[in-house]
Symmetry: C2
Subunit: 292 residues, 2 copies
């Protein structure tokens, strides 16, 4: 049996990730805001604790997979960092803003704990299949220490240096490119349908040639099927991410007209009551605009 890891956040993504850590031989101590969600892990032998602080032991490792900057701040102020000190590591795998990651890293460091930024690409199916792509940034020693755990969670880890914000910049950039591809396909399919073609014919050809990659294959299919439940990634969370993109772009004086368009599409989707549907539902906007 390998070492004990604390794990906070057993939602859509966190649950299959935590299960893979148990399967890889780690002993797990888990916490979730809604305790029932950790049930499947307890059945696998994980110990459930009732406070975030109780996840940590001095010099140990805690992995977090939570929803946003506010949840990260809540962890940072829970007393968990103090319990990890000295010499502990917090592996923060959520999509948070680069600014929040930098602030958290400073706070951790002042208490003698390393913050490793390790956001992931992949939907829940990919998490379950250990097919996530993981972006990491922070000091080399801390990254080395948690490398075996990350290997149990994903197919490949990419190192973006020491800046605690760097991995999250890459994550935001990737999500923005993903959203852009979804919007582009949605408009393209509307044009194709209005001109006598089926979207399925078009994407079948393009996702086998110029666009033969997971994004166009997965989201092309989702857009053609227009099946938004169960949500692999909820629109509410995608809206949170595009807000981070827009805020980071604003703070760094980077006009991004396409990001602004996506922001508007997602606000509109939420306004129409679609926040809990899969975020590919933003593809409906181009159809609705065209009265399809």
């Amino acid at each position: 049996m390998k070492e004990t890891i604390g794990f906070v956040g057993t939602g859509n993504m966190g649950l299959p990730m935590a299960e893979n850590l148990v399967r890889a031989g780690y002993r797990l101590r888990v916490y979730n805001r809604t305790p029932g969600k950790a049930g499947p892990l307890v059945a696998l032998g994980a110990e459930q604790v009732s406070t975030i602080r109780a996840l940590a032991e001095s010099g140990g490792v805690v992995v977090s997979m939570i929803s946003d900057d506010a949840a990260l701040e809540q962890i940072a102020s829970s007393g968990m960092i103090q319990s990890l000190a000295p010499g502990g590591v917090h592996v923060s795998m959520s999509t948070v803003s680069p600014a929040a990651a930098r602030e958290a890293a400073g706070g951790h460091r002042s208490l003698g704990v390393d913050y490793v930024a390790a956001p992931v690409f992949g939907r829940p199916e990919a998490a379950a299949a250990r097919r996530l792509w993981i972006c990491v940034s922070r000091p080399s020693a801390a990254k080395e220490r948690v490398r075996p755990m990350l290997s149990a969670l994903g197919q490949e880890t990419f190192d973006f240096g020491e800046d605690p914000g760097a991995a999250n910049v890459v994550k935001l950039v990737g999500n923005f490119l993903l959203g852009s591809a979804v919007e582009a396909m949605a408009e393209a399919f509307a044009l194709a349908e209005k001109n006598g073609l089926k979207a399925s014919q078009v994407i079948e050809m393009l996702s086998r040639t110029l666009f033969a990659c997971p994004v166009y294959q997965t989201y092309g299919r989702l857009l053609v099927e227009r099946k938004y439940e169960p949500a692999g990634f909820r629109l509410a969370l995608a809206l949170k991410d595009i807000r981070l993109v827009v805020a980071t772009a604003d703070a760094s004086a980077t006009p991004m007209p396409l990001a602004s368009l996506l922001h508007g599409r997602m606000i509109s989707g939420a306004a129409k009551g679609r926040a809990d549907l899969d975020w590919s539902v933003i593809g409906l906007a181009a159809r609705e605009d065209a009265a399809l």
Copy 2:
């Protein structure tokens, strides 16, 4: 030696395509508006003629790879169709509007000639390497007849039925998706650079994972290198294509905000004197907006 084919349009794309037809054993009769451009083909044994009409023989095949709707109309009114009749085939491989393709197909049909729409995806390197992807639409018999020629030009042919406009709709949709990916990468790279990362680090990771496909690999590299000459595909031609997208969208009542953004980017690039550079130069806009 196989049959004789007429070939009109020996530009950046047409020249390597015509060369591949000669290498596949076809006897070629070529015409180009600027006669000097057909020189390399004459050296390979092709016969150069001085009018479009002289390319055709009754019941034969003419392939065209010209620049726009106006050039297609010029071919249609050159007397070439009459010379192909009866039973000839015109393989129209240019990116023209679906509306122009439908009109040309009707005109050809009334003279007893088949119009096969066969636009291609791929830059000049791909044309030279017989790696084009070809979209075809028209009656089955005509498509069957020209299949061996298309096999000499590309790696795969995709059949979109009988509507003469269908293959060109797919071509426009594909070009729009391409331009959208270029704009998205340009904005993403500007954001990454403004936040301490190199664009090359970001695309290296993403084009090996979520976006592991030719578009992101090829254009990601072009955007990172910012090398716009020699132009594989000139901005002037990309602007022509996005105008076809916007016009087809307008005619079919399909609002496409992302296409409108691309249209603006391309107009701006041309206004700045970049019409003869590679169209990936539209990626400069996001950098310039961010004062990079």
